[in-house]
């Protein structure tokens, strides 16, 4: 049997690599084992590099899709209820309530596609648009807000439905860039073939947990039908004002970039900027990403990820994805995380009674508080020692599903 300490050190180093540390980072933590660990970790990195390339994966994904679709169709088709009547009524009542009570609207303002309150956010916007008689500035503001929301949803790796509008900036096969967003356009989407770079389009799409945005429907925006929006054209990194209360009638000016070179009806082949997108490859190459408006939070002794997620109004899953955490117990005092702005978590006594499913509060091992040498990206730097044996994972209800043994 090999030395148990070395076994543990090796395991700990694998965790650190998963959190984005380098081999050297880990060897510094275990100088006594450095000569033994280095070749082992290098061998592991060779495996990581041997990932299938994105092009092959995408091709396979397209080829296999038809078979899976057929199998999906064989399942009993009961269409998913979009919004049940009762829920719609409740939402309607709530919106009236929210509009009346004014300030409370902000509650829904930070919500994202897929959140319970998101439909309320959109309803509020529609109400405001109606009241303002479709003020173009407001329309542009809301359009830009869609883009920002989608960027966040993608950053979270949240799978949900989204819609947005904007200009087609590039088309390269199935990979498009629309309003600054990388968009995958599967084959046989009706009408997609007619669309050219430079067109204004409305898109119904969905996001996947692998941070891919996939189109479901694409429509050319018809200028005759609607007010020509001051298009939030290239919105590379729109800063959506996540926490600030909504400006009322005096809509903040959207940074209307210089008007795009007007495209002539005779669609000359526009210089296609090839999008630099690798749609499917990001599943495991996790890099912590600071969503706009989020802050860096330093974990205090007594914090738990689930409590932090609850108090800041995101799910544990999103919190972990954004910060590239793989184990909700693997946090420690002093570690830095990206969090949406919000109140500080209550200290020991009261656990917030929020919507997140209650979770046994993980004991925080605040061993090795980091010697503040880490740089802005949240300190995933110091993975605590070794937390493996008989730690049950948080989702201890994933049992009895493995009935597929043969």
């Amino acid at each position: 049997m090999a030395d148990q300490d070395l076994l543990n050190a090796f395991d700990n180093c694998i965790n650190r690599l998963a959190f984005g540390q380098t081999v050297d980072d880990c060897l510094r933590a275990y100088p006594q084992y450095a000569p033994a660990l280095r070749p082992m970790l290098e061998a592991g990195l060779a495996i990581r590099r041997a990932r299938v390339n994105a092009a092959e994966t995408t091709q396979a994904q397209v080829r296999v899709r038809a078979r899976v679709e057929m199998a999906a169709r064989a399942a009993p088709t009961r269409t998913a209820y979009p919004l049940r009547p009762l829920a719609a009524l409740a939402a309607a009542l709530l919106i009236v309530f929210l509009v009346v009570s004014g300030g409370a609207v902000t509650l829904a303002q930070n919500s994202l596609p897929g959140d319970p309150l998101y439909s309320i956010k959109r309803l509020t916007e529609n109400v405001r648009l109606t009241i303002s008689e479709n003020n173009p500035a407001l329309q542009a503001e809301f359009a830009a807000r869609r883009i920002g929301e989608i960027q966040q949803v993608l950053a979270f790796g949240r799978a949900t439905d989204v819609d947005f509008a904007g200009k087609v900036e590039a088309i390269s096969g199935a990979d498009w860039v629309v309003a600054g967003l990388p968009l995958r356009v599967p084959e046989n989407i009706p009408g997609a073939a007619e669309i050219r770079t430079g067109d204004e389009v409305e898109i119904n799409a969905y996001t996947t947990s692998t941070r891919t945005l996939i189109a479901r429907e694409i429509h050319l925006t018809e200028p005759s039908e609607r007010e020509p929006l001051p298009t939030p054209t290239p919105v590379p990194t729109r800063s959506i004002a996540t926490s600030t209360p909504l400006p009322t009638a005096t809509a903040t000016p959207v940074p209307t970039n210089t008007p795009p070179p007007s495209w002539t009806p005779t669609r000359t082949p526009t210089p296609t900027r090839t999008p630099t997108i690798t749609p499917t490859s990001s599943a495991t190459d996790c890099v912590p990403f600071q969503p706009q408006g989020w802050e860096v939070y330093t974990i205090q002794a007594g914090d738990t990820l689930s409590a932090l997620a609850a108090i800041r109004g995101i799910t544990l899953d999103e919190l972990m994805r954004v910060n590239c955490l793989t184990n909700p117990r693997l946090i420690f005092a002093g570690q830095r995380l990206y969090l949406p702005p919000g109140p500080p978590p209550p200290r020991p006594t009261a656990q917030p009674t929020t919507a997140v499913p209650a979770q046994p509060t993980a004991p925080i091992e605040d061993i090795n508080p980091p010697p503040g040498d880490n740089n802005p990206p949240p300190g995933n730097d110091n993975v605590p020692g070794d937390n493996t044996n008989d730690n049950h994972d948080d989702d201890n209800d994933n049992d009895n599903d493995d009935d597929d043994d043969d």
Binding site: M40, A50, E69, A75, P76, A159, A310
Partner: protein, 193 residues
């Protein structure tokens, strides 16, 4: 003041619930989300690209029929998919086709920082890495792909492989050293031939 507390179901569970209700949309979203990791897992184990595709499609077809027969998981879909993928690979290759790599546990050479072994590993191309990987036992391949390739936690890997956490910890240690030996043989071949 608002007194409504809305349930905060993670997106994946919601999607799973919709798929169990028969929503094809939800099923296909699940497919798009998980194809890449599952395909990668299989492809590293299986040399033939088309075979890998077939096996991957089997995994997802199995998921679809699990939705139909109401045996699909309610949570932790990723673990479920990896377990199914693993079983399907086993079925194809037989559980015990393997070269052995015993007597490696204690193999622990002194490696200075610039040692040729590390240099060699850094220069390895994908094909040779995969080739070396496939000389390991099935379990050794799995543990390395899940831990290094997919960056799953020790706990999740243990769950997928149906092993105890401690056993996986030993296994990954043996596996990485087996891989080093396989790399070492490649290196000998390279240098001699």
């Amino acid at each position: 003041m608002i007194l409504i507390v809305l349930p905060d179901i993670p997106a994946e569970d919601r999607l799973l619930a919709q798929a169990r209700q028969g929503s094809q949309d939800a099923m296909m979203q699940i497919y798009e989300s998980y194809f890449s990791p599952i395909y990668n897992f299989i492809r590293l184990r299986v040399d033939d690209q088309h075979m890998a595709e077939d096996l991957a499609s089997e995994v997802f077809i199995k998921l679809m029929s699990a939705f139909r027969s109401h045996t699909a998981p309610h949570h932790s879909l990723r673990g479920w998919l990896f377990r199914v993928a693993r079983n399907i690979i086993h079925d194809h290759y037989g559980r015990a086709r393997q070269l052995t790599t015993e007597a490696l546990e204690e193999w622990m050479p002194e490696s200075p920082d610039n040692d040729p072994e590390v240099q060699f590993m850094r220069a390895l191309d994908i094909e040779r890495t995969r080739h070396a990987l496939r000389t390991l036992s099935a379990e050794q391949q799995e543990v390395l792909i899940l831990r290094f390739g997919q960056m799953l936690s020790l706990e999740e890997t243990a769950d997928i492989m149906g092993k105890k956490v401690g056993a996986v910890k030993s296994l990954q240690f043996r596996a990485i050293n087996a891989l080093r030996q396989a790399f070492g043989e490649l290196r000998m071949e390279t240098e001699n031939g």
